[in-house]
Each structure stands twice: as C-alpha cells, then as structure tokens.
C-alpha cells in the first residue's frame, strides 16, 4: 500500500532545510530529544524504542530497540554509538539524501540514541566521497553545539553528548560494522570475528551500538509521536516492521528518486507510481530489491507460500509485484529488503552482463581475508567475463554455482553471502540466458545494461556495454 509520509523529508527541498532554524520551525526539531532527556529514564527509552519496530536500515533489518537493549553498562569503559553512513552498496542512495537535506534529524537521533544506550559520544562514519554530506553534518553539529543541544548539559540535563564525523576512504567493506570499527580506530578495514559482538567489544574495545544512519535519523520522529503510534503507520506493523522509511528507486525507471513511505509499498507501486514507470515504456523484466547483495526477482514470478503460517500466504499465487515490501515479506520472496532501494531492469537487459557487473564489484571490494571470498569472487568474474566474451564452456557455466555454494556461509563476514546470493539468484532465474551465451558466442556482444536511446547514464558508466565492445 502506497502511503507517502514526510517525517524525515519535510525539510527536503525547503530553502535552508538543512539548517537548525528550519528544522526547528518546520519539523519540531529537537523536541523529541528534549522530551526524552528531560522526562524519561534510559530503560524507558529502550522499551519505547522497541515499540517503534524500527528494523535496521543498513540491510539486515535487525530490530533497533532490541539491539539497544544489548548494551550493558561497563564498570570501567565508556560506551559508543556509531552511525554507519558508509553507504557503499551498489544501488543504494538514501542515506546521502538525509545527510545533505536533513542532517539535524541525525544529530537529534544521536542524542536520543546515546542516552538510550548509555553513551556520551556518537561517531558518524561517512564515506569520503560524500563531501556535501560531511559538510552538512559538520555544520549541523556546530549549530547544535552552539545551542547547547550537544555539549555538557543538553536541555538542562547533566548528560553530556557529543557527535563527531569520521571519514572513511571509500571501501565498501568498511560498511560492514566491525570493519567500520577497525577503520574508525585507524586500522585496516577488515571485518572482525564475531563473537565478541560490538555490544560487548566495539569501538576502541568498548561496548558499542552500530546503527545505520537512517535508523538513527528516524528516531526523533518516532519518539515525538509515540513509538507505538509510529509503528502503526506501517502496513506491516502486525509483523513487527514499523513506521516509515526511505525507499529508493533506480535503474530503468523514468524518475529515479528517494521517497519516504510508510513501510509496505509494493514493487509495482515503487516502479510505476514512485518511479514513473519503466524507461521507454518497456515491459518490466527484473528487480533487485534492496542493493546489489539481494537476490534478483523476475517480474513474472508468482508468490509461492502454500503454508498458512507464512506471512505471505494471503498472496499465494499472486504476482510478487503486489506484495507489501518489508523485511520479512521480502525474505519470504527468497530475497531481502536490504537497503530498501530497488534497482529496476527493463526487458532487454542482459542477466549475464548484470551479473558480471555485480561480480566485478565484489571482486574489487572483497577485503581478501578469507579464502572463499577472496578467491571465489575473482573466479566468478572470470567466468562471467568469458561468458560475455563468448569463450566460456558449458563446464565453466556449471562451475559458477559451485563456486558460489562454496563461498556461501563459509566466510568471516556477510560479504561472502552478499556475493554468493546475487550470483545464485541470477543463475537460478536466468539459466537459459546463460546457456545461450555459451552456445552463441555473439550473445555477449549484443548484451546490454541500458535501455536503447533512453539511458540517462553516461555511456562510460555502463561496464557491461563496454566489455561487450
């Protein structure tokens, strides 16, 4: 069900919307933080947060309130809140809008979050390339400090809170939370072994909560209206997926964009109502639902949920395009909601070129610690390259899934699954196309990732087409 909201986006596009004055005037800025710090205990904040049913916006969809409740005060060590604004997942472009257009919601969220988990310092880890984002966050922090919202006694309460922006160097793997912590500490950005989890041993060896930037950004809105009320805005409140979130639409749509919606729009609504329909009015072919790591869906797939207990049972036999999109419903479709930014592909897109494109990314970004990811990601690309060049054999095509199988689950961090899942997804859903590339050595030369004549992308941004030349 499509329900536009504007809790986070109210100040988007408003003149000086990123400033404290506009945030306070238009969006009751810092009222939530004031309410929380002046009238609630830490325990109350966590209990209330749980009611909001905010599922982590970073990709895994873990309930935010539950994560906060893992934080236990340590006898000697401070606690930290770390915001993940690395936003490196291909096809993901939502956190950036929040930092640029509404940085104060993030800072206010940090105050509530710090209070809730018992931290006095929040770090926002921003990918280096996002210069405007960093500038807007820094400016917002300065404004909040000047007003005393950040500092020794925010809103008169003797609970010091400060926020710092930390710059990454543009490595996708530094978005993985433990890798991010290493990077934050000045170490090589490689994921750590878990356990221990960040709530026990996080930044600088101290208890830490890592949340996505948007996860924290929406917190003030939830607390302002009451967390349960907030959760009920969602069509999926009943299955603990609450509130509103940023949905992104990109790829072969007429109007790529980021919008705020109550949780639970359908893919059809996102493509046609939000995205303005498929480029060149082509038939819809496939959708990557939440960033490159989430398995691709074919537009012609039907929901298979014969089990009455399945949250998707009521959609059994219907088009997957008509299922309200939330964390658990996406899982029910055999994929993931991920970062909630959908990549739309029109008919004519080559699945082999698409997979090659993604695999190039994973090969390039694997931190290289664990054998299956380091070597497997490279092998997947090699075979994709040969398929595109028309030199792959059937045996090599049949190697692809076994390589992905051997990566799956056998690595230190979820990057491994993030590589294997989309690979297996493309293979499972488009095997016939892959076979055609083996039989017909010209197939790769005709392969495309763009919609003829309609591309708004500069040609150089199209790796698949380049490889085909």
């Amino acid at each position: 069900m499509l329900k536009h909201t504007n809790y986070l986006t109210k100040v988007y596009g408003v003149k000086d919307g990123h400033t404290l004055a506009v945030y306070e005037r238009e969006a009751q800025g810092y009222q939530a933080a004031k309410k929380v710090l002046t009238s609630m205990t830490r325990e109350q904040v966590v209990d209330e947060a749980k009611k909001a049913n905010i599922r982590g916006r970073g990709g895994a969809g873990f309930p935010m309130g539950v994560k906060w409740s893992f934080m236990r005060p340590h006898a000697t060590k401070p606690a930290y809140l770390v915001l993940n604004a690395d936003e490196g997942e291909p096809g993901t472009h939502k956190d950036r809008t929040l930092m640029e257009e509404n940085p104060h919601s993030v800072i206010e969220g940090c105050i509530i979050g710090c209070y809730g988990i018992g931290a006095h310092v929040a770090y926002i880890y921003v990918r280096d390339e996002l210069h405007l984002s960093k500038a807007r966050l820094e400016a917002a922090i300065e404004e909040a400090r000047a007003k005393g919202y950040l500092g020794k006694t925010p809103f008169g309460k003797a609970y010091p809170v400060d926020v710092h922006v930390h710059t990454g160097a543009g490595a996708y793997i530094c978005g993985e939370e433990t890798s991010l912590l290493n990077s934050l500490e000045g170490r090589r950005g490689e994921p750590r072994l878990k356990p221990p989890f960040p709530a026990q041993v996080g930044a600088f060896g101290c208890p830490t909560t890592v949340n996505n930037l948007e996860t924290i950004g929406i917190v003030p809105s939830a607390f302002l209206m009451g967390c349960e009320e907030f959760s009920k805005l969602s069509a999926l409140h009943a299955i603990n997926d609450g509130g509103v979130r940023l949905y992104g639409v990109n790829g072969h749509v007429k109007k790529p964009c980021v919008v705020e919606l109550a949780v639970g729009p359908t893919l059809r609504e996102l493509v046609y109502d939000v995205g303005g329909g498929v480029l060149g009015d082509k038939p819809l072919w496939a959708i990557i639902p939440g960033g490159s790591s989430t398995p691709v869906l074919r537009a012609d797939e039907l929901v298979h949920a014969p089990d009455e207990k399945s949250p998707l049972h009521e959609y059994h036999g219907k088009s997957i395009l008509d299922v309200p999109l939330g964390v658990d419903t996406a899982r029910g479709l055999g994929t993931m909601l991920g970062t909630c930014c959908i990549t739309v592909m029109a008919e004519g897109t080559s699945p082999v070129a698409a997979m090659q494109n993604l695999m190039q990314f994973y090969r390039h970004e694997s931190c290289g610690q664990c054998t299956p990811c380091r070597e497997g990601s490279g092998w997947l690309v090699r075979i994709c390259d040969k398929l595109m060049a028309g030199t792959a054999t059937m045996a090599e095509l049949d190697t692809l899934h076994s390589v992905a199988n051997n990566i799956m689950g056998n690595t230190i961090c979820a990057f491994g699954e993030g590589t294997a899942m989309p690979a297996l997804g493309f293979l499972k859903k488009f095997r016939k196309d892959f076979e055609a590339y083996v039989r017909d050595s010209q197939a790769g030369k005709r392969a495309t990732l763009v919609v003829e004549g309609e591309s708004f992308l500069p040609p150089s941004a199209n790796a698949g087409a380049q490889a085909a030349e």
Partner: protein, 530 residues
C-alpha cells in the same frame, strides 16, 4: 576434565581451548593454515570448518544453495548447515562436532583447498617448501580434483627480499597472516602487514623498514607454504633427502628444542627448525640459534694439535704424556666447560676425582645480548648442569689468577671458549691440554688440543637455565678425526697414567645418575604446530 565429541570420539579439553586446539592435544588433526597454537586465531583460511550439531532445543542455521539437477535440466534449491571455524569456536561440554563424518565439511575443505590453488603457481619443483607444504599435503588429503580454472592465474610480485634473511613470493602466499601475527605478537615488532584487497593482496614490510631483528627466520617457519623462504636455506636441498635429529640449541642457556636437519649422504648440516616444547621455547627459536647449525663446520678445531701444529691423535697424546706423566696427579687443575655436555663434563670431573685433585674451574663463553622472549644473556648451553655437577668449581678468572700466581701449573680443560679473550696468564702454564670442538682463547693457549666432536656429532645432555635436563640426539658423523669429548678424556687419562672408570657412553650416563644433576625431563609432548 570436560569433554566433547569429534566424529564420535571423545575429546577432553581445558577451559579456553578452541575445538582445533583440544583436538590437536588429543592427537587429532583438523586441517588448517592460519591457526597456530602459539598465535592468535584470525580464522581467515577457513580450512578448519566443522559442523557443530545444534543442542536439543536449538535448530541448525541453514543456508540456501543450489545443485544442478541433470534430469530436471535446472537448478534445484538445497540447503546446507552453517559451518564454524574450529580454530575460533570454543570447545564446550557435551558438544557434538562433525569433521570427517560430515559431507558438508568434506565439501567445504575441498572448496577452500581448490580456492587456494586457483591462482597458485604450483612451482613445487623450484620451491623449497615442497615436501613439507600444506598445500601439497592437503590437496591429496582433502581435494584430489583436477584444476577447473584453466586461465592465466593472477600474477603478483615474486622473489621480494624482505631483509637480510627472508624472501617473499606473493603468488605462493595463502594470506594466512601467520608471519604478520608472529612479528606482531611474539617478536613484538609489527613490521609486516598486508596491502591491497581481494585476490591482489600481498604481505609487505612497513615502508622504510626491513624485516630485521632476532626472530626473522621464524616467519619462514610459521609460513605453511613456500611463500616465505630463508635466504640461508634457499635452493640447498630437497627436504625428503634430509634426516632429522632432535637436538637442543647450544646458542644460549634457554636451550631451545630444535630439529637439526642434515643430508646423511654427504654428512652435511642444512638447517635448524624449532621443536615445539611449551615449557622451554614454545614453538620458536631466535635467528642466531637457527643459524647456529653452521657451528658444525665453522670455527672447528681441525684435528689434534701440538703447539698449534696439526698432528695425529697418538702424537698429541704422547705429548700430553710427556708433559703430565711425571707431575703429581693431585696438583693437576681441571677446567669444566659450560658449553659441553654433561657427559663430557662428567668424564673430566671423574678424571679429577681419580687424580684426587680438588682444583676445579669452569669456563664458557662470555655473556651477551638478551631479551624477554627467548634469548638468554648466558651464551652457554650447560651452565646449570656444570654448576650442579661441581658446585665448588672456581671461576675462569680464578684460574687466570691462580695461573699467574703459579698456584696452578698443569691444566686439563674442556673446550676452547673462555669468558675473556685476555688469557695471557695461561702462557705461564707448564702444561695445558684441552679437548675442544671449536677454536677459542683456550685452544689458542693450549700446548695440546684434542679434537672433540661437536654437540650434534654425539648424543649429549644439557641443563638449561630453568634447570631442565634435556637430551640432544646425535645427528651428523664427527668431522675428521674428532671424537666425543668423554671418550677423549678417557684416552687422555690412559695417556697420563690413570685408569678411566668408563669405556662407553652408557657407563658415563650411569655415573650421571649418582650426581646431583636434576633427572631428565620427560620427553616433551610434541604439539603439531608446524
């Protein structure tokens, strides 16, 4: 002791043991590259994955994968359990772990092994590691499939000099980080790290530095493959032709346990490797120690000497007889050596007894560099042994003083080493015979030198600074005319008219029992951390 089950076998463990460690202690090897008992566990190689059966009230975490169904002509969705690295996962009471008995584990191992060989040069014929390489061993044990990737492998730097001792080949490297962790955690000098990402990764030395210090050769030793090779050993031997003697390093009083590798065909010493002993050197040796296998040949006493000139042993003994035959036996002074085995020292000690002499002294090498890792300032391998044998023995300085004062005129010594180069006082002696393997101040001053076998050329016992009595096996055959020191003491005794109370090594050892020297250490449990 708590226990868990590995493939149905009961494995005991101590709190804090990982599954792989507990299995290792129970003599069951779980294949691994990155795990090393003496280092932290990064769990990066993924070779040690095992299946841990869920407890009764839990469900296994399952992962979606696919299989190719020939009949169907399509992929079939299947699931597999999430495996866990046994080097990271702690053993817990009653846990059931599957390794060899899990098809998922067998597949995962073969998968990891295939991944590791994917871009590997497989240049075994020119690789020093061949014959003791985990990649080779595990291919046979855990993979056994032909190569599926026939394209040009990824190329990376080869034969990179990391410093004076080590050469790195990035193409052979399996990125296990053992070398990096060794330098960081044991040598306390984090001079190695990784650069690049993914399959372009390589180990590097910190800019502006080289791999240096007292423990560089250990990086080669911990490397499970041929990525790091020692400049000293490169291209010198095929390891399968070598024989190994379990010995004790003579470099200092720590007494690191070592494997001494030599070529029996040419009687040539080739290298030392640490022999694991938790109580002494754990899994390590220092560079000086590692290279001291060369002492078999370097600085050796070339043969019997009289007045510095080479002679036959008989001639030398005759000369000794001339100098010592008519002297009152009880006036002869005896100099034990902290660099010689208990056997050699005991023989000399016994000779002193037979001569009814109370004039005992000790010599040995001067003190030197030390650290709080392994290296002891005392550069002698048997100081504690000699001290136990003859607590009343006087120092070498006393010997010099007594010689200058004319209190001592005739001396029978062990070894060439002395704590000082300044030994002119010895020039006043009327007779100085030494039984030595290596040249030193004492051999320089001696009238007669009898050529002793080096430590590795005869079995010997040494007591380290911790008071542990350790046995060193015989390796190479004695060079030239040299003979075990205790035997030469016997011949010398006969020459000066004393009937020795021993003829065989067994005799000497049985006399050792009667001394106050601590009893032998039980043979060290050898962990398989190599």
């Amino acid at each position: 002791m708590p226990t868990f089950k590995l493939d149905g076998k009961t494995i005991p463990f101590e709190a804090g043991d990982s599954i792989i460690r507990a299995a290792e202690k129970a003599g069951v090897e779980i294949p691994h590259y990155c795990y090393h008992a003496g280092l932290s566990s990064p769990a990066n190689c993924r070779m040690c994955l095992v299946e841990i059966l869920p407890a009764a009230n839990q469900r296994a975490m399952m992962l979606d994968i696919v299989e190719w169904d020939e009949k169907l002509g399509d992929y079939k969705a299947v699931r597999k359990p999430k495996l866990q690295p046994s080097c990271q996962f702690m053993a817990t009471e009653g846990q059931e772990v599957l390794a060899e008995t899990s098809t998922h584990v067998i597949e995962a191992r073969a998968g990891v092994q295939e991944f590791l060989l994917l871009n590997h040069p497989v240049d075994c014929p020119i690789c020093d590691q061949a014959g003791e390489c985990k990649l080779q061993d595990y291919w046979l044990e855990h993979q056994k499939t032909p190569k599926r990737m026939h394209d040009e492998p990824v190329h990376k730097p080869k034969a990179v000099s990391f410093g004076d001792t080590i050469v790195y080949d990035a193409e052979r490297c399996v990125m296990c980080t053992r070398c990096i962790r060794f330098m960081d955690e044991v040598a306390k000098d984090p001079v190695l790290d990784m650069r690049e990402r993914g399959n372009l990764k390589e180990v590097i030395v910190a800019p502006g530095r080289k791999l240096e210090g007292h423990y560089t050769l250990m990086t080669e030793h911990v490397c499970p493959v041929g990525a790091l090779t020692s400049k000293d050993f490169r291209f010198k031997a095929r390891v399968w032709f070598l024989k190994t003697a379990k010995t004790v390093c003579q470099g200092c009083a720590t007494g690191c346990n070592a494997h001494f590798d030599y070529d029996p065909r040419s009687n040539k010493a080739l290298r030392y490797r640490p022999r694991d002993n938790e109580a002494v050197n754990k899994y390590w040796m220092c560079d000086e120690g590692m290279l001291s296998y060369r002492d078999v040949t370097s600085n050796r006493v070339p043969g019997a000497l009289v007045g510095g000139k080479p002679v036959k042993l008989d001639r030398a003994l005759e000369d000794a007889k001339k100098r010592f035959g008519s002297v009152q036996k009880s006036s002869i002074a005896f100099v034990l050596s902290a660099k010689h085995s208990l056997e050699d020292n005991l023989a000399l000690f016994e000779l002193a007894e037979l001569c009814a002499s109370r004039a005992l002294y000790v010599t040995g090498a001067p003190d030197g560099y030390s650290d709080d890792i392994l290296i002891h300032a005392d550069k002698n391998s048997n100081t504690a042994g000699v001290k136990n044998l003859a607590p009343e023995a006087k120092s070498f300085a006393d010997l010099l003083a007594d010689a200058s004062a004319g209190k001592v005129t005739h001396v029978i010594a062990l070894g060439g080493a002395a704590p000082t180069e300044e030994v002119t006082a010895l020039g006043r002696l009327e007779g100085l015979v030494t039984i030595a393997a290596h040249e030193g101040p004492i051999t320089g001053a001696a009238h007669v030198v009898l050529p002793a076998a080096a430590w590795i050329e005869s079995s010997g016992t040494f007591v380290n600074a911790k008071g542990m009595r350790q046995l060193a096996e015989k390796g190479t055959e004695p060079l030239g005319a040299s003979e075990p020191g205790w035997k030469l003491v016997g011949k010398l005794a006969v020459a000066i008219g004393v009937e020795p109370s021993w003829t065989t090594l067994k005799d000497v050892r049985s006399m050792l029992v009667a001394t106050s020297v601590p009893p032998p250490e039980p043979p060290s449990a050898e962990a398989s951390a190599e």
